[in-house]
């Protein structure tokens, strides 16, 4: 998992339990108004039995609008606060307390929106109901990194590429099932957010243990990653199979004492060496641009595009 998180874009979300302490401290600095009075302990205040309809309303707000106001500064923060409003109003009756709670949630928040966030949001709804404000902050910060990794691995590495290849092949043969499969995939992940939310809600603070203890979830992620690796290994040659060079070169061969030249297709020579060498080289090149030269995805894309365009225009590929 730590290696997986070793990415610039995800850096803010990588929080180990030790870092959670620091983040909470930062949060305090950012929000000097934060009232230490009302909730300085975890066993403070009355437990609020949340009405089912209130919980449901929060669940739908989160499900439908979480990222509508996604921005570079605090990413999913505002969507999170908006979704939490029904809970805040049910738990805190005093206006000052409500303001404190809103401001407490208006801090940086970003995770996988369909797999990770429903769990985190569900768990924090349950904790907010117990007036465990401080703990809510650490849970958010502590869980959003790991769950971003797990969610993205499942959705982007295992699920989407396989489904996309099937759907695209169907669509290329003119079948409406192609877009339909994609459409149903979106519905599937959206509907899944409902049980995930309630799973998080029932687990409450227990969800943190589940994620951080290197337990079942860590093993599951590892398993999914291995599956993804095997599939990607097959995808590179199959998806990019059309990348072949038409270049031919003349070779002087001596056979039976006679010397004559023959034209050999470069591709035949390459195939004898390693099949699908050109796709592999391009993936390695792109990987080197991203990791070796630390270029952004957009720059890598532009360079790849130009290189490929020139090679194609020259008739070399």
């Amino acid at each position: 998992m730590p290696e997986q998180m070793n990415n610039e874009a995800l850096e803010p979300t990588t929080a180990t339990p030790e870092q959670v302490e620091n983040s909470s401290a930062q949060t305090d600095e950012m929000l000097p108004v934060e009232a230490g009075s009302g909730q300085d302990g975890q066993h403070n205040g009355d437990l609020v039995a949340l009405d089912k309809s209130v919980v449901r309303s929060a669940m739908w707000r989160h499900l439908i609008t979480l990222q509508w106001s996604w921005n570079y500064e605090r990413m999913q923060a505002l969507g999170y606060v908006y979704s939490m409003l029904p809970i805040i109003n049910a738990v805190y009756k005093d206006k000052a307390e409500r303001i404190t709670a809103m401001k407490r949630h208006l801090v940086f928040y970003n995770t996988n929106p369909q797999v990770g966030s429903p769990l985190i949001f569900g768990a924090t709804v349950a904790m907010e109901a117990q007036r465990e404000g401080e703990a809510v902050d650490s849970i958010k910060v502590g869980l959003m990194g790991p769950l971003a990794g797990i969610g993205d691995t499942i959705q982007a590495i295992l699920f989407r590429p396989i489904i996309a290849v099937i759907a695209a092949s169907l669509a290329l043969s003119g079948s409406y099932f192609g877009p339909l499969i994609m459409f149903l995939s979106g519905i599937f992940w959206t509907i899944l957010m409902i049980p995930l939310f309630y799973a998080g809600y029932k687990q409450g603070i227990g969800i943190a243990q589940e994620v951080s203890s290197q337990g079942r979830l860590a093993r599951f992620t590892e398993m999914v990653t291995i599956m993804g690796m095997v599939v990607i290994g097959g995808f590179v040659p199959s998806i990019m199979a059309k990348l072949k060079t038409p270049i031919k070169y003349a070779q002087t061969v001596t056979s039976l004492g006679q010397t004559h030249t023959q034209t050999v297709a470069l591709q035949t020579t390459l195939d004898a060496l390693i099949p699908y060498l050109i796709p592999v080289v391009f993936v390695a090149f792109a990987f080197w641009l991203l990791r070796g030269l630390k270029l952004s995805a957009v720059w890598t894309l532009i360079i790849l595009f130009i290189v490929a365009f020139v090679l194609g225009a020259l008739g070399w590929l």
Binding site: E3, N7, A9, L10, E11, I64, W68, W70, N71, Y72, E73, M75, L78, G79, V81, Y82, R98, M102, I157, R160, P161, I162, A168, A171, Y176, G178, P179, M182, F183, G186, W189, T190, M193, Q214, R216, R219, E222, M223, G228, M229, V230, I232, G233, G234, F235, V236, S238, Y276, V283, L289, L290, R291, S296, L301, L304, F305, A308, F309, L311, G312
Partner: protein
């Protein structure tokens, strides 16, 4: 030939709705297959929408907005490519326009994500006052930069640009279209490289070779590889000794 204000506007709304509903609830309408198909239906050339959507989907394998990263916008690419290709140029013109559109739209994506920052500061202000209605309005307005950064380019490209773009592309030399075709074939490399850069490659690279050998030497179809991948994943998981932590958890 060009598109009427009505059709241009309709597809601009489709782009707007697609991206906003991708942000939440995440309906995947930004998938090139879906946006291309719907565009094909609107302009009356569904087969073209399917082909362009599928081609872009194959390029986009492995692309994912990890941690909010900007990736090529194949949603807008599919809409504009399908619509312009449907004017008569067909698949080659459609793809030739779809790729650069998807690439250029990365700039609009960055702009949209940046402009939305305004609303979080508005929300700070309303939170101070305890004004929940104001805070909610800020949240809902957040969709405007996102949706408009897609909708406006789609509208302009179809209403103003469709005719001129198409006539230029129709007379493009062969080397140009060859270059674009090759570029389309190479671009999946970006997706795979992005995927690999997210994975613990140093530890798990052998599994990559398994998949490669299965396809390149043994000609196993991709679904077969996926099935075997699931088996390998489970077997490895079973063989792995359980750590102390997981015991306590199980």
């Amino acid at each position: 030939m060009s598109y009427s204000v009505g059709i241009s506007l309709l597809l601009a709304v489709w782009a707007y709705v697609g991206i906003v509903l991708q942000l939440g609830p995440g309906l995947w309408w930004t998938e090139a297959l879906i946006s291309g198909f719907v565009t094909g239906a609107v302009v009356g050339n569904i087969p073209l929408g399917l082909t362009i959507g599928a081609s872009l989907t194959l390029i986009s394998l492995g692309l994912w907005t990890y941690g909010g990263a900007t990736i090529p916008d194949f949603q807008t690419g599919a809409i504009v490519g399908t619509a312009i290709g449907a004017l008569g140029g067909g698949i080659s013109v459609g793809l030739t326009i779809a790729l650069p559109t998807a690439l250029l739209m990365t700039q609009m994506d960055v702009l949209g994500r940046a402009v939305t920052t305004i609303f979080i500061h508005g929300a700070d202000h309303y939170a101070d006052e305890g004004n929940q209605r104001g805070l909610s309005v800020m949240h809902f307005l957040g969709q405007l930069p996102w949706g408009l950064s897609r909708g406006i380019p789609v509208f302009l490209a179809l209403w103003l640009g469709a005719g001129p773009i198409e006539s230029v592309l129709k007379t493009a030399p062969t080397w140009f279209s060859n270059g674009m075709i090759t570029a389309g074939q190479v671009l999946p490399a970006l997706g795979f490289a992005l995927l690999l850069s997210m994975l613990p490659l140093r530890r798990l690279w052998p599994y990559l070779l398994v998949g490669f050998v299965l396809f390149a030497y043994l000609q196993v179809p991709i679904i077969g590889i996926a099935i075997l991948a699931v088996a390998i994943g489970f077997v490895v998981n079973t063989l792995k000794p359980r750590s102390e932590g997981s015991e306590a958890n199980a």
